[in-house]
């Protein structure tokens, strides 16, 4: 496998950044990493993962859809879309890499979301295998192997070097573009690291968590479960879980009057918000119970029902870490299974 010594990673980043925009996860403050546009000297975080997921690159929190100018009774629609520049997201973990597959199912199905596709076409996802999973990790529940992440190209860290493997043509092109910096390396140590990671994976507190009891056919079983009341009781109705979630993709479309035109923008929305489904004459999801249920039913039942059994969760553990009241999909799954 091709590899580069970790000490030369900076050179590699510089080389990539010279050709296209490069984003890497870096430390923002102790214990909190975020993706940042690479600038020379910037270091890769040692954190397992970023606070915000990598979905932002393809589905940003807010984006302009169109501009309007109004003159008397006339409206002018301005298509402000531009071809996105090529970019590389480096260091994406296996869970987040899988989330793109899930987002693709939503945004790339007909009618294709051109805003998403534009970025997806121009972005290269370079993933990084995990070696120190956290207690909140449960990607294996969803059949993800963190030692062998998806993405256009995958990287592996054996402690001394980073190894590269292409999963797609785009990934191969990426590796080719940095080939001059890479050398052939021995993966013996890497295999050891991976074996060790797998050992840890088996010992994770959530290792036993299974999706066996969930899926598209479980609608009636769970929709009317009496667990929802108890589970949703403490929910604040904030959007933390949805906003840190790599697979949540609900959005809102709003207009903003700039004083000299209207900007129509799309922004993340959360099904946990009380006004998410509110209409002028009623709301089908009146209480937090219904909204809470929607989020988890969507991930565990509705999404698999529409997508050949694929779940709307990748087990990244962000909601476990970030929910202000520590309510999360794991607790929901366990409670629902209790019956």
């Amino acid at each position: 496998m091709l590899k580069i010594s970790k000490s030369r990673l900076g050179e590699l980043f510089d080389a990539v950044a010279a050709k296209q925009t490069l984003y890497i996860p870096t430390d923002r403050e102790p214990g909190a990493a975020e993706y940042k546009k690479y600038e020379s000297g910037m270091e890769l975080t040692k954190e397992l993962n970023t606070v915000r997921s990598a979905k932002d690159f393809f589905f940003p929190q807010t984006e302009n859809l169109a501009d309007f100018r109004i003159d008397g009774k006339n409206i002018e629609v301005r298509d402000i879309r531009e071809e996105c520049g090529d970019f590389v997201v480096f260091g994406v973990r296996a869970c987040d890499a899988r989330s793109f597959t899930i987002l693709d199912k939503v945004f790339l199905c007909e009618p294709v979301d051109s805003f998403y596709k534009n970025r997806r076409d121009h972005g290269t996802v370079v993933t990084m295998a995990c070696s120190r999973p956290a207690e909140t990790c449960f990607c294996q529940t969803f059949g993800i192997d963190p030692t062998s992440p998806e993405g256009d190209a995958a990287c592996f860290d054996d402690g001394e070097s980073i190894f590269f493997k292409a999963n797609t043509e785009k990934g191969q092109a990426f590796i080719d573009s940095i080939a001059s910096l890479l050398e052939e390396g021995d993966t013996a140590k890497l295999d050891e690291v991976n074996a060790k990671t797998k050992e840890i994976m088996a010992k994770l507190p959530l290792a036993k968590l299974s999706t066996g009891n969930f899926g598209g056919d479980k609608l009636n079983e769970y929709f009317n479960s009496d667990k929802w009341a108890e589970l949703s009781e403490a929910c604040l109705g904030c959007g933390t879980c949805t906003f840190v979630c790599p697979t949540c993709q609900c959005y809102d479309i709003r207009d903003f009057n700039t004083g000299h035109g209207i900007k129509r923008f799309r922004c993340w929305d959360s099904c946990m918000y009380s006004d998410f489904t509110k209409m002028a004459h009623g709301n089908p999801r009146l209480t937090q119970l219904e909204r809470f249920r929607q989020r988890f039913m969507h991930k565990l039942v509705y999404f698999p029902a529409n997508n050949n059994g694929e779940f709307g969760c990748v087990g990244c553990g962000r909601c476990l870490a970030k929910c202000p009241i520590s309510m999360n999909i794991v607790k929901v799954m366990k409670a629902l299974e209790e019956k």
Binding site: T258, G259, H260, K263
Partner: protein, 146 residues
């Protein structure tokens, strides 16, 4: 800071109907000149000015916001301007804490008889804001004129 001679700041002035708005009228009646940058919004009392309005003005591109009310003790509604004083003091203090230039915000007491003070205050305030240059720290980029 370098003063851009061509920079014409947008200044929003909230004036209470009973004192300051009348004071502004008086400065007009007396033909006391002050810069055209100042645009007055009439409110019944300075206590009607919600901090929201001030932030909104800055968001939409105002470079300075000044609130004018009756002198303490002379409020048409007896106590309105006392509440204004506390609210606006705290708001301005907060804006300062957030690093917003102090000279962009001001509260002045102008009575109906103080036409000259009104004009002088606006003159000074406009000069102060002009010296600061355009409001960049509180503006919403989406609202910036292209």
């Amino acid at each position: 800071m370098q003063v851009n001679e061509n920079f014409e700041p947008v200044i929003v002035a909230f004036c209470c109907n009973w004192c300051s708005y009348a004071g502004a009228d008086l400065s007009g009646t007396n033909r006391l000149n002050y810069p055209t940058n100042v645009k007055i919004i009439r409110v019944p009392c300075s206590c009607r000015v919600n901090p929201m309005f001030i932030l909104r003005a800055f968001q939409k591109g105002a470079d300075g916001v000044i609130i004018c009310g009756c002198h303490p003790g002379d409020c048409h509604y007896t106590s309105g301007n006392y509440f204004t004083r506390r609210r606006i003091t705290l708001l301005y203090s907060m804006l300062d804490f957030l690093g917003i230039e102090r000279n962009r915000t001001r509260l002045e007491w102008v009575s109906a008889a103080e036409g000259a003070k009104f004009a002088a205050t606006m003159e000074q305030f406009t000069a102060d804001v002009k010296a600061l240059g355009p409001n960049r720290r509180l503006e919403d980029l989406r609202c910036r004129k292209q």
